[in-house]
């Protein structure tokens, strides 16, 4: 049985370190390898993992993750298979596993049904980039997730104005995910220049722990986040690292947290 996101954040805090969250696209390159990758990540000591449900039109994802989504779908991966895999994995590890994906997957499944199925699979929270808070009055997704005690992680960006940071702070649960740059997911060699001022501003208005993602790929990036954020999210950078090299890479990254 895995811990909740908040429980894991408490551990990170007690250990006075940065958390590390990683990412997989379920079914890429295969369901079997996804399973092995998640187990390897957990064994390497990461603090949580985003399990992405593949979708045909992943609006917030750059070329690498988009391609992974399309390959998984082309191989016939279904939402049901993803939920089954998630269930096996949440039984096998003790860190929180979160579901990340696009809103149409949930809408099409049935919002209530999806929340229930995710809860039954042991999922600990959701990140859905195209389901902003402002659509909640029409969708009731956040409310249904809250009833199941599952946080919906809010995203904010360098463009988010202060009034909206306040609004998000009021509704956010567990932690807030700060998109580091303008654009889509993808590995970059350097962190954006404005990152420090951006994260300091966010800190002023948001009380929950901050995760930072989009373009984080090296131990140096992780080092730079100390004192600025609570969790570093490493997504695209690990996507095409072979299973053999994954543990070594993660060990190097986690050494800096």
């Amino acid at each position: 049985m895995s811990r909740t996101i908040s429980e894991q954040l408490t551990i990170i805090k007690q250990q006075h370190r940065l958390g590390v969250m990683t990412h997989v696209v379920m079914g890429y390159p295969s369901l079997h390898e996804t399973k092995q990758r998640v187990l390897a990540m957990a064994a390497a000591g990461v603090d949580s993992i985003e399990l992405q449900i593949p979708f045909s039109d992943p609006l917030a994802d750059g070329p690498a993750i988009t391609k992974a989504n399309q390959q998984a779908l082309a191989a016939g991966v279904t939402v049901q298979q993803c939920l089954q895999l998630a269930e096996q994995l949440t039984r096998a590890v003790d860190i929180p596993l979160q579901c990340i994906g696009y809103y149409n997957t949930i809408h099409h499944f049935g919002v209530q049904q999806f929340v229930q199925a995710s809860q039954a699979a042991g999922i600990q929270g959701f990140t859905i980039p195209d389901m902003p808070l402002t659509e909640e009055p029409y969708e009731h997704f956040y409310a249904l997730a809250a009833q199941a005690n599952l946080p919906v992680i809010q995203l904010i960006s360098p463009a988010t104005p202060i009034e909206r940071l306040r609004l998000i702070n009021q509704h956010a649960q567990a932690m807030v995910y700060c998109v580091s740059r303008f654009g889509v997911t993808g590995a970059h060699t350097t962190l954006p220049d404005h990152l420090i001022t951006y994260l300091r501003t966010v800190r002023q208005y948001v009380t929950l722990p901050l995760a930072v993602g989009f373009g984080i790929s090296t131990p140096k990036h992780i080092r730079a986040l100390h004192g600025l954020a609570d969790v570093a999210v490493i997504g695209s950078a690990l996507l095409n690292v072979s299973l053999e090299n994954l543990t070594q890479q993660l060990t190097n990254l986690c050494a800096e947290r």
């Binding site: 917030a60 997957t105 659509e135 904010i156 988010t160 104005p161 303008f182 889509v184």
Partner: protein
């Protein structure tokens, strides 16, 4: 002509709520990164609409640059040949750049200028919207990036060349089905990397709020003109019995319909692409065919062609502009409310209609518009001669010569 003409910005009983929801459809389902940009745009648009100098400039450019009003033409030989209702053609193909797309490009480029943006981003399927965007970018001195699926780049080569001559960068999209839907995603992503300096000039009445409303409003000039021109033919106070337009995303159709939405005696018919086979997945683009399915994709809620897990399905149409799995949210609403009716026409019927119109009237419609013509050809003989049909010729067919030459041989 004395102006009893409707103003360009008017409201109907089918307006969305303040967050852009037409009933359950529409909205702003986008990543947080785009929310401030969309809010800025909504505000700027509201202010511009209320600014008489903005409205006057739109009309001035419509007249002196686009060449408006476009004619409403009585297709006498076609009418005689079919032996039923009178057919009128609203010829948007005579606009500068050859299609209705220029209408919303002019309006949006003026808005981009007002906002101080320096680059226009657009997606295109048939290339008509891309050409129109590249054109207004040149006219207003803005940079321009047009996203286009690799499949469409191939089949609409003349328009790619044209855009490049106008100084636009054409970005070829190799993701997914490499058609319009992938171009939309790619353009939205481009905007996400530069939401402050760039203006996303969306090419149909879809996407997140305020685009469906804004594109509709700039296109509404079509119906406003038709209302007036029709009376010159049929007498003061007369209105057409039927309006027929093809529906890709829905901009030319809503542009024709909007001025008549509140007049229930006018029947509205949208024509979707039946492709090679409207009953087989991947072979058509009839979103409102059998059992339309609600979804949330590319920033808005509407009916989408999707599989059991909510992934977009592949589509096909001989016309690139209709080859898209979603439909603008206001059309979804008009369909649900029963205000408009949606039918499908196959590739073969569209190509036949293309030739029929060329041969009887000397007017070569775009393959998209040929879908509307094809339905009018079916409808007219079933109606008595006193009935009237207005068909929107959303564009001219020059861009399709090469496709047709291949199909016909």
């Amino acid at each position: 002509m004395k102006s009893s003409m409707k103003k360009l910005f008017f409201k109907t009983q089918y307006e969305p709520d303040e967050h852009g929801h037409f009933g359950e459809f529409g909205g702003q389902y986008v990543p947080e990164l785009l929310i401030p940009a969309l809010e800025e745009l909504t505000q700027a648009y509201e202010q511009a609409k209320a600014d008489p100098s903005f409205v006057a400039t739109v009309h001035e450019v419509f007249k002196n640059y686009v060449g408006r009003p476009s004619p409403l033409y009585f297709a006498e030989r076609l009418t005689k040949q079919l032996g039923g209702a009178k057919i009128f053609l609203k010829n948007e193909g005579l606009n500068h750049t050859g299609a209705h797309k220029i209408n919303h490009c002019v309006g949006q480029a003026l808005l981009a200028q007002r906002l101080g943006k320096t680059r226009l981003i657009a997606e295109t399927g048939a290339g008509q919207h891309g050409v129109a965007t590249a054109t207004v970018a040149a006219k207003f001195g803005l940079h321009c990036t047009v996203h286009m699926g690799a499949v469409d780049v191939q089949r609409q080569a003349p328009n790619v060349f044209w855009m490049q001559q106008l100084g636009a960068e054409v970005r070829v999209v190799h993701d997914g089905s490499q058609t319009l839907k992938d171009a939309v995603t790619s353009a939205l992503q481009d905007w996400m990397t530069d939401p402050i300096g760039s203006y996303y000039l969306l090419g149909s009445a879809l996407g997140p709020h305020p685009y469906p409303v804004m594109v509709r409003d700039f296109q509404s000039i079509i119906g406003i003109e038709v209302a007036e021109q029709f009376q010159a033919y049929e007498g003061q106070g007369s209105v057409p019995d039927y309006l027929v337009a093809c529906v890709g995303g829905g901009s030319n159709a809503i542009g024709l319909f909007n001025a008549f939405l509140d007049d229930k005696q006018v029947k509205l018919i949208g024509v979707e692409a039946g492709g090679r086979n409207p009953n087989q997945v991947g072979e058509h683009a009839t979103r409102l065919g059998r059992q339309p399915q609600v979804g949330v994709i590319e920033g808005y809620k509407s009916f989408f062609l999707q599989d059991d897990d909510g992934n977009l399905q592949p589509t096909h149409s001989v016309s690139a502009g209709l080859d898209y799995p979603g439909i603008g949210p206001e059309h979804a609403y008009l369909y649900q409310q029963g205000r408009a009716q949606y039918v499908a026409v196959t590739d073969v019927q569209a190509v036949q209609a293309f030739r029929a119109l060329a041969n009887t009237e000397g007017i070569v419609p775009a393959l998209e518009s040929a879908h509307a013509v094809a339905y009018a050809i079916q409808l007219a003989p079933t109606l008595p001669p006193k009935k009237t049909i207005v068909v929107n010729i959303s564009g001219r067919g020059d861009k399709d010569y090469f496709i047709l030459r291949e199909l016909i041989h």
